[in-house]
Symmetry: C2
DNA sequence: GTTAGTGCAAACCTTTTGCAGCTCT
DNA sequence: AGAGCTGCAAAAGGTTTGCACTAAC
């Protein structure tokens, strides 16, 4: 959605287009990435150091409720925060690599079919559909394969193979 | 998945089957509903008043990492907590009514196709797929229609129509 | 007897709320 | 002028962590 039409949409709803909201709208719309509230807050503060974290949350809530942005979880790969993107023409799924965290988007007819089938078979009026897929990207599949081999060769390396997990989100957070 | 095979799977991994875990496993597996950590905790305490909330979280984390249960958000309809269900044979989507909170499950080939296409076109090894759909169930569609009509007839009832939102999760929480 | 798991208290991260003051229209 | 919005401080909700003790293998 073009920045202009977003702003139009807000005006139409009697929602004021304040300086803070313009900054946030710009950031979400132009970044092209999936930003969470904290990242958005940091970026916004570069343009207006007075802008408060609370305003970020309030704006996001507003945009979400107005259907202008979509809220994502991205499989909680990096913690329990939410990510945001402007709602685009085409429905798409988000594919997250559980090993390196890369996020890719998938467009394809199964998504449209899914929506239609839910409407037809369950009689729902679908407002929003979110599909998130966790897996391993081509690059990380190789790495993982090597790790598994190494583990099975190591002495006593059979039990508890699932404990070779990456640090938790909290742990990673602190390191930053 | 039958309780027995879950327990087998754990034993295989060298994970101890403690009294607390048996209780929780039983609850998740037999309830048939989508329970969150807090509900699970309350129910577990009825069987063992000493069982701690932390144990619930730790057990859920363990089961999730072992791929024995799936974690859901259910569109955050009722807050930001997570819900759990034992991983079943058939992949399915969760359809949440944004008005009454009812949750239905949808099985259908678009889900399998989606998975296959992501694997083929992006080259990912898919580990977990989660599709959540928010919408309005047949019953609530009627109610909603009436509300919209009433609103458009009411004096000055045009602007800010999106503010006719239900109370936030936090607000609802307090009422309980 | 080890090692893994538990309970308790305290911390943590993310998000929301109350309220006084500011600002768009 | 007046509703709407912001900032600040404080709280809340959900979840995790550190550590001493206990229980499963």
């Amino acid at each position: 959605m073009a920045p202009e039409s977003i702003k139009e949409a807000l005006k139409e709803r009697g929602i004021r287009l304040t300086r803070q909201r313009q900054i946030l709208l710009d950031l979400i719309d132009s970044s092209g990435k999936h930003l969470d509230a904290e990242q958005l807050y940091r970026m916004a503060r570069e343009r207006d150091p007075k802008l408060n974290r609370v305003t970020v949350y309030r704006t996001l809530k507003l945009l979400k409720e107005s259907g202008l942005v979509d809220e994502l979880d991205l499989m909680h790969y990096d913690g329990d925060q939410h990510y945001y993107e402007t709602r685009r023409k085409q429905e798409h799924a988000h594919v997250v690599c559980l090993s390196c965290g890369k996020v890719e988007e998938f467009f394809g007819d199964p998504l449209q079919k899914l929506r239609r089938q839910v409407e037809n078979t369950l009689g729902y009026e679908v407002a929003i559909a979110r599909t998130e897929i966790g897996g391993y990207c081509p690059t990380c599949q190789v790495t993982r394969q090597e790790e598994l081999e190494r583990a099975s060769q190591a002495p006593g390396g059979e039990r508890r193979r699932h404990s070779s997990k990456r640090p938790t989100s909290r742990a990673r957070k602190k390191k930053k």
